[in-house]
């Protein structure tokens, strides 16, 4: 848990696509002039999504330059929030809720089952780079416990059968990206 590790800047070129840059510019417009720092959280989300799944020093430097910030301001923020990963992660990050309402309704068992199934511990990634297992704090799904999220997509009222099915679907999806993308967005809007 205690890091105090000094990270290395690799000086690899990173850049958003034109479309994302346009979104960033729009986003900055949401905030009063000179307050572009406000866009930091959403831009870091975009960076994590588009530029490698985690925030490397290079990516954070790039975000800092986009928003005209001092890099340390970005490091401070990125390390504060638990949704930002500072180390590489697998394609699917499975985050199991471990807070009391889930824990008393089977959350702990779900986590154990996943560890066993994926043969990895919490914080680790499977050798094929597909799954990273993590824990999170209360996801606001206590009534539908136990809950987990896969890359911010919620899965609720789980049991071992549901987990099996979920892993299968994800594996299939990874093998064939054109197969069903069961995101919330496609279900709702």
């Amino acid at each position: 848990m205690i890091t105090h590790r000094l990270h290395v800047k690799e000086n690899r070129p990173v850049a958003f696509s034109e479309a994302t840059l346009k979104k960033v510019r729009e986003l900055i417009q949401q905030y009063p002039e000179g307050k572009q720092k406000s866009a930091l959280l959403p831009v870091l989300h975009m960076a994590q999504e588009e530029l490698g799944g985690y925030l490397s020093v290079d990516v954070m430097d790039y975000v800092a330059s986009l928003l005209q910030l001092n890099p340390i301001e970005v490091f401070e923020v990125a390390t504060f929030y638990s949704m930002f990963y500072l180390e590489p992660v697998g394609k699917y990050v499975i985050e199991v809720c471990r807070t009391a309402p889930c824990a008393i309704c089977g959350g702990e068992e779900i986590l154990e089952y996943l560890k066993e199934k994926l043969q990895i511990g919490v914080g680790e990634t499977t050798p094929d780079g597909l799954f990273t297992l993590k824990t999170v704090e209360c996801l606001g799904g206590c009534g539908y416990a136990p809950v987990l999220q896969v890359n911010t997509q919620f899965h609720e009222q789980l049991d071992q059968v549901a987990i099996d099915r979920l892993l299968d679907t994800l594996r299939k999806q990874a093998a064939d990206p054109s197969s069903a993308d069961l995101t919330w967005a496609s279900q709702f809007c």
Partner: protein
């Protein structure tokens, strides 16, 4: 001007003054200890909670007490406010608790720490510490790192007062270190490997209340109580050039800013003065420094409150305070 009473002593201060500053105007034992507040750094204070006091009467208009203890460093006074510091059992108990919290993860390495003898936390635990620790778990441990050729960061000892962060934000061109992570895993760090060597960055050593940021050009050379501090100055294009030279015999072992009795630097000095001017010929000597450190160790021994006196820890002399700010 408003009148406030702190530990039964009345004082008149300007509107908007904080309780802490009002207490400092009185001086002596009514002054709450401050580990994170630093008057010249905007935004500092409120974090360590050692300066908590009880407000027995909020103001002349509203005589009710405030429901919780308040941080005196960031609570402004009001006309007719009555504040209890040393005279409140509740305050003393809370302060003991805060000191305990600050110490649980603090290493017990005072014997090898460069700050020993001028450490605010050491003073504080002398005044408010429990005899024995109730903390039996593992302590947080970080490796020590060098941030640049002049400064060493010993994160184990840090109490996360944020002073060094505000200093670099406000005094240097570009802040390169900050507080990372959160909760009890927070740490002061640069995140990436780089050195902090802005022109004024050396001042972090002076504002750090503990031995977390220390002078690499001085480390382990000596202990402060063997050194004789001299007020010195020089012509410096970057700063005021007013400093203190810590002498071991004829040798300048380190240069620091001039601290007032609350441990706050009067004028910040530049890195060149601090780290590179170590020869007697660089400086004009004014005479021995009259240290008026408001140490809790000494504050605790006061019996009478009207005329606080200050013990000079170096020369062993006792000075009568004239109750005015230095």
């Amino acid at each position: 001007m408003v009148k406030v009473t702190i530990d039964n002593i009345q004082v008149e201060v300007e509107e908007g003054t904080t309780i802490l500053q009002a207490a400092r105007k009185i001086g002596g034992s009514v002054v709450p200890p401050a580990m994170c507040y630093y008057s010249s750094l905007a935004g500092s204070g409120g974090k360590c909670r050692t300066c908590l006091v009880k407000v027995a009467h909020s103001s002349a208009r509203d005589p009710r007490p405030m429901p919780k203890l308040v941080a005196s460093c960031c609570t402004p006074v009001q006309e007719g406010m009555v504040v209890l510091n040393q005279t409140s059992h509740e305050v003393v108990e809370a302060r003991k608790a805060i000191v305990e919290f600050l110490l649980i993860n603090h290493p017990l390495d005072c014997p090898v720490c460069d700050q020993a003898g001028e450490c605010d936390l050491q003073d504080l635990s002398f005044g408010y510490g429990l005899e024995e620790t109730r903390y039996e778990e593992d302590r947080r441990e970080f490796p020590e790192i060098d941030i640049g050729p002049f400064i060493k960061l010993h994160m184990n000892r840090c109490i996360l007062c944020y002073r060094c962060v505000y200093l670099c934000e406000q005094l240097t061109e570009k802040r390169e270190h900050g507080v990372l992570y959160r909760g009890d895993t927070s740490e002061i760090s640069t995140f990436i490997r780089q050195s902090i060597d802005n022109e004024f960055s050396g001042n972090v050593i002076d504002v750090c209340p503990v031995g977390a940021l220390t002078d690499r050009t001085f480390r382990f050379k000596s202990r402060v109580w063997f050194l004789k501090p001299m007020d010195v100055h020089r012509e410096c294009p970057a700063c005021s050039g007013k400093a203190v030279a810590w002498m071991f015999g004829e040798e300048i072992q380190r240069i620091t800013g001039r601290k007032d009795r609350y441990g706050e630097v009067e004028e910040f000095i530049c890195n060149e003065c601090r780290f590179e001017k170590k020869s007697r010929a660089d400086w004009v000597f004014e005479g021995p420094r009259k240290i008026k450190r408001q140490s809790v160790i000494s504050a605790n021994h006061y019996e009478k409150m009207k005329k606080p006196s200050i013990i000079n820890p170096i020369e062993g002399t006792i000075e009568q305070s004239d109750n005015s700010e230095t």
